[in-house]
Subunit: 475 residues, 3 copies
């Protein structure tokens, strides 16, 4: 292998446009925000990692096993998930061997954002200077393992080094938020880690485990959730508990966008039937549509920002799900409609001064067709960041184009990293800043906006809009 | 505020590509058509404005209140529509204060075509040199108001200055077209203003006011529209009346594209039931599908060009509709299918020598998937311009790419401004010419077409294709 | 006509990006693969043409009449298909006049890939140096006719000159593959021409001619296909026969993607009913869904690569179909869903080591939303090349972007020309190589991948991936 090709180096100009004029503008725009603190209002980092602050176990368990973006691509080229330590209770596996599988298949990631993020993590966090390959796998593994043993690579140290101003986690409504409380109470931790209310399991009577969830909800809230009024009260109570612990938002991954209020009596009847004997498919859909409406209503009452991300077909491959559980790389995007489904909700609350509804999608066609037109009329609606399958450089550019031309910059909600991979947070925000700079640079050189305006916009996108939309104006 | 940023200036290179080579070609292509007369075959300007030729009232009522592109974005950032004078019978409002709200929220429009158009209107029509802001709001308002008081800013003077060769309006089939007649009879007005037959209200028994519309249609045509044969005759008679007054086209905003002829007896039975007691949803759909087919058939008989633009979900927010009426910024795009729906219509008339069917969409995915393939086979079908939510620089580029690679340039119908905002007409056509020049410049520098061909194409797109497709070859 | 504009010349830089830096990289990447042999795993050339090796009749019957890409555009601007010699048994027509119609309407093709391919064919195969026009039509016709009379323009000579390493045809399962056998047995022909198993007509009881097809299948296989077990055995037997004759793949143009296995008894009952008295629409859909599943199952048994391309609405214009037959330019793309439909199939066989399932689409939205996410998880799934309506320069770029960012380069299946137009094969592969070079060049200059990696990738895309995915590793 040639010397040249075995070096891992990051160009300072990566992701900037080819045209020299546009590149120059992009460089300056990026430089103006590159070092800003990270506001991360939507992600999936385990707060316990920060609360405990134990050293990370090993490179594989930190960077590979929990990142389904990475493991799914390895799986797609023939690597077994078991050999990568995937799953909540993985079978015995060899972390060093798993790392080698990653390095063996490094070319499978060419051109993907996962490779961009991993390279940034290797270079910028761990000082790796070798390109992953069968020949360098052990060297890299050892270098990272060496770093992880040091105090400055413990979770909180990295949190500080990543310059995270606010980190929102995603939490079960019944959670006591013990880790959040412990972090908040700890005078030695100066970061801000807040919970997010994720009610999915409690809103879908057709989902696995709903009946048990309702019982748990009763226990957590001290309400009788077997009747509908108590169930609603319990949800309200838990939301209030989350607000007490710093939450500013909910996050709901609904199967679809249908929102249709039921009369209280009808809803109560369905709830009772769901608890007792279960619902038909049609009844369950009506139940969910009512609860989507109710979630918006509760947001108008308690002010929690409502994040909605419908349209994901979960756990596509049943054998994999049975063996490895949720979030193992085969949740798939679906075509998704918003305007018809959300009409009742927006008729009722679309101009309500306390509602903020952030719409995410995994269907890129929805940006221009549904989300931007809704955000471009309703004061309550914001276009969520391109997310999950859409968090790639070209799609972020396409998102900016689709949304900006219809609703401007100021009805977008700001970047979210949405990640379980703690170490990818800085790289993901960096990609977003680079790509936004590239988009704005194009607008500048095409004389669509002025240079001054571009600097103002990128500053607002990074620092002003996210805390404002997510209700952390003081952040 | 710095001197620099408070100046409003338009770059001569705006919207041209960044690459210097491509920009040079785009500049020349644009220059070759920049001053050509405007052929406007599809828009919503009130012909009475030209017939009366009264001075425009004030800046706000001219530029802001009637332009739902602008008012919807202000609404989306929290401005009430009432304060902007929106609606057919607006409540009392202060035009100067409304103008200030626009200037206060000028950044909300960054990157949108509305800002491009407004800036062009301010600079090129009214000579405004100050960037809108709270500090400049009154100065700009006063400057425009001053101009509007002058004779050279009356509607007909602007019509001449805009260099409009033909302006098609959109008209109710029952209209006596008094304004068109008065303009045609006026020896002091040399412009051409022609009506367009817009039958929506008469074709959908499930729509509000259909029964009354049918009665109006009977009165206007002197036919008995309570029976189906009389109804069809009345439509034919009104089409003929429009043709007498210069119309060359119809314009139908159908809910969908389903076209299915009924037997005469079945259609007559449905019509009678619709008049008497109303139809079920399924019957109404069958009625509409039959009438879409009939509209095409009538076009093969009388030669009126058929414009079809399905897929708009009208008046999404009921409270806003109840307070302010139609066309107030919350009509929303829907996913739209064409090939299956139009199959019966095209089976019958797709190769008919007198049919010209122009397909518009608000669903950008339809350009490549439905419209271009249809236009690339059927001699009767033309791809309508990117329109409404899709009349933005990047989407015009995407439209050109999607349609050209499948059906070439000569099965497109030419740009339509589709606007209610009279003063935006030149800016909208200018944007279209700039973006088409940019697209063609890319093809030239990528050696996909020759320089000579590019000059021929842009000339045809601006001056030859639109009058030919819209049946105004002599224009 | 000016001298300049009447010359037909091909720029060596055609389809490369405008930016000089990116263009330089694209040039080098392209040069590294421009002369590589063509591996053509999916097309529609008649093997009899090569087996007989007769001189081609005339320019029109070679280049125009059989190419529905070309005839549909001429039809769309008013040329009758009859005058072009379209159809299996065309009516008498004048080939020279047909050629003139093409030259008369040369501008209708501006910006289309068909013009790119035709120009490349004229210049590079036939040495034409004149731009088609009414004035040059006869000269060009005569020049091509002159060449076609020479031995070095016979089919096999062109096959060699085109540098085709493997050509896969598309064949009826009942075909005796006589032409393939004769080519394989001919010591004077060194090319590789292999069949592909195309079972469409045998899997859809609602399709025209299914009952007759089943009888044919019985005759060809010596099985009783009136019962289900015999029918399955017959299909297996014919697949084995194809494998014996070099086939490595099947190719199924299913109406949709629904795959749902039936119990053997239910399937047998439906099969018997289909043979006896025909099925309802719902039953036929169930039958097809079961057979899509069965095709995948057979692939796991015999190793034939499974190509699937659903979503085409065939023969849209019935009058044209009645007069000219299949494949006459009015098959139309439909919106297509993959993830839900294929779930049962992938649950059962998605991780089976012998299945390779290549998913094609005519709906560009499916690349990012369905196909790449499936290919990015399932080891058996590959993203098929952009095809048919999507085989255009800008869509190939969009495909690369959509698929690469989600699934990388190595889960794509390589370019397929999918053509009936024998002489367009080199031009189509050349376009693909040029556009891939342009895409990769952008990634290089934007520092997304290294120069070295780009050279490796383009080499793999052209020479390594296609034979590997299509099971011709030794090719």
């Amino acid at each position: 292998m040639a010397e040249g090709s075995s070096r891992l180096e990051l160009s300072p100009d990566r992701l900037f446009p080819a045209d020299p004029g546009a590149r120059g503008v992009a460089r300056e725009l990026y430089a103006s925000v590159a070092d800003r603190p990270i506001f991360s209002p939507h992600g999936h980092v385990d707060p316990g990692v920060l609360a405990r602050n134990h050293p990370f176990e090993d490179p594989t368990r930190l960077l590979l096993s929990p990142d389904h973006y990475v493991t799914r691509i390895l799986h797609s080229v023939g690597v077994s998930l078991a050999s990568l330590g995937v799953g909540v209770s993985p079978k015995p596996f060899d972390p060093r061997e798993a790392w080698r599988l990653l390095c063996d298949h490094w070319d499978a990631f060419l051109g993907t954002p996962s490779r961009f993020w991993l390279e940034a993590e290797l270079v910028e966090i761990f000082g790796v200077r070798l390109k992953p390959s069968p020949a360098t796998s052990d060297l890299i593994y050892d270098q990272i393992a060496d770093r992880l043993a040091r105090d400055e690579f413990r979770p909180r140290a990295l949190f500080d080094r990543f310059n995270i101003s606010v980190l929102a986690t995603t939490d079960d409504p019944c959670s006591e938020l013990a880790d959040h409380r412990s972090l908040a109470a700890d005078p030695t931790f100066s970061g801000t880690v807040i919970p997010t209310f994720r009610p999915d399991a409690y809103l879908n009577p057709a989902g696995i485990g709903w009946a048990e969830a309702i019982i748990r909800l009763g226990d957590a809230s001290g309400r009788s959730t077997s009747d509908y009024a108590g169930y609603l009260d319990a949800l309200r109570e838990r939301r209030a508990y989350f607000i007490e612990h710093g939450a500013t938002a909910t996050d709901y991954g609904a199967p679809d966008t249908v929102s249709d209020p039921l009369d209280f009596a009808d809803a109560a009847r369905l709830h009772a039937k769901a608890v007792m004997s279960g619902l038909t498919e049609v009844e369950a859909a009506a139940y969910r549509a009512n609860m989507l409406f109710e979630m918006a209503k509760m947001s108008t009452e308690d002010g929690l920002v409502m994040q909605l991300h419908p349209g994901v077909l979960r756990n596509h491959h049943r054998p994999t799900w049975l063996e490895f559980g949720n979030d193992t790389g085969h949740d798939l995007p679906q075509q998704t409609e918003y305007s018809r489904g959300l009409r009742p909700l927006l008729d009722a609350f679309g101009t309500h001064p306390r509602l903020r509804l952030i719409l995410f999608t995994v269907d890129a066609a929805a940006f221009a067709r549904d989300i931007a037109p809704l955000a471009g009329f309703y004061p309550s609606v914001y276009a969520g960041a391109p997310w999950w399958f859409l968090d790639t450089p070209d799609t972020i550019l396409a998102y900016r184009s689709a949304v900006t031309e219809s609703a401007g910059f100021y009805k977008t909600a700001g970047f979210v990293d949405d990640t379980r991979a703690f170490c990818s947070i800085p790289a993901r925000h960096d990609m977003s800043r680079r790509v936004d700079a590239s988009y704005l640079a194009r607008l500048v050189v095409e004389h669509r906006i002025s240079d001054d305006d571009a600097f103002q916009v990128i500053s607002d996108l990074v620092s002003t809009i996210p805390p404002r939309v997510f209700g952390r104006t003081g952040a």
